[in-house]
């Protein structure tokens, strides 16, 4: 952890998202559809409720999402 941590990031990490969220297993299950919908310009957050909240709360799943988006963008 840095000597000068970002207070907002720290609070978000400790308190997590406010609303209902998917579990890690559900997130992995839906990740490909979520990413493809977003790439196609659809409202992926509306299509898969709880996904965005989970990605805000779970750094590991968010890293997986970012990697998948980055890999597809490179193709």
């Amino acid at each position: 952890m840095s000597k000068h941590p970002d207070p907002d990031r720290l609070l978000a990490g400790a308190l997590g998202p406010a609303g209902p969220e998917l579990t890690c297993e559900q997130c992995f299950e839906e990740l490909d559809r979520y990413v493809d919908l977003a790439r196609d310009g659809a409202d992926a957050d509306a299509a898969i409720p709880g996904m965005r909240a989970h990605l805000q709360g779970c750094p590991a799943c968010e890293e997986d999402r970012r990697s998948l988006v980055a890999l597809l963008e490179r193709e």
């Binding site: 207070p7 907002d8 978000a12």
Partner: protein
């Protein structure tokens, strides 16, 4: 009116057709399937190499050959996972996107664990120091300062020992959840459930003390 599950748009051009055909060939048999398994492995290796390369900064102590070994192991493990779950592919995304997520997951977990190999999990005192530093940087923002100031008390008061261990490590000390899971003999899903329950208790505790808790900041997509 029946609810329609939004699907990704049909694949455009030849790449999409090849992706669909790969799935069908994997479900078939004989030499076609054998060839399809080789293609599947190549896709997974591509994803695994991409992930290892993306995170090479955390693997600077590894030689090029060791990073390639990590990618190969990830692709091999992901291949087993994909073949075991082929029947679960619902066609709601491109097949290649579905495949890639397995390769990226396997590689991502292996990279994080390798990066933390031999490192101690930071202790609680480091988290309290972090909280104190954060509190000092928001001296002019009353709500954030009060929340951060109250956080340590809420953590010590409201959480079980296990909840505290997980929350302090993952949320305050930036320990990757997969690394902590490996050390505790658990898995990402179970530890995230613990983290979720701990956050809920913290929110309740702080709200009962009249502290205002806003929405988590939305990150850029």
């Amino acid at each position: 009116m029946p609810t329609e599950i939004p699907r990704a748009q049909p694949d455009s051009a030849a790449a999409g057709e090849a992706s669909r055909q790969l799935h069908e060939r994997l479900l078939g048999g004989g030499r076609e399937r054998d060839a399809a398994v080789v293609e599947l492995h190549a896709l997974l290796l591509k994803a695994a190499r991409f992930e290892v390369e993306r995170r090479r900064g955390s693997l600077s102590h590894l030689r090029v050959g060791d990073r390639e070994d990590l990618a190969q192991q990830s692709a091999d493990d992901a291949l087993m996972a994909v073949l075991a779950k082929l029947g679960e592919f619902r066609g709601e995304s491109r097949f290649t996107t579905w495949v890639y997520k397995f390769g990226l997951l396997e590689a991502g977990v292996k990279v994080r664990r390798r990066a933390w190999q031999g490192r101690e999990i930071p202790i609680e005192e480091e988290a309290w120091a972090t909280l104190a530093d954060a509190g000092a940087t928001v001296a002019n923002r009353v709500e954030s300062r009060e929340l951060i100031g109250a956080l340590r008390g809420a953590i010590e008061r409201s959480l079980t020992a296990h909840q505290r261990e997980v929350l302090v490590a993952v949320a305050l000390n930036d320990v990757p959840i997969d690394v902590l899971a490996e050390r505790l003999g658990s898995n990402r899903g179970a530890l995230y459930k613990t983290l979720h329950d701990a956050r809920k208790r913290l929110r309740q505790d702080l709200a009962e003390r009249g502290l205002t808790i806003g929405e988590s900041p939305r990150e850029e997509r």
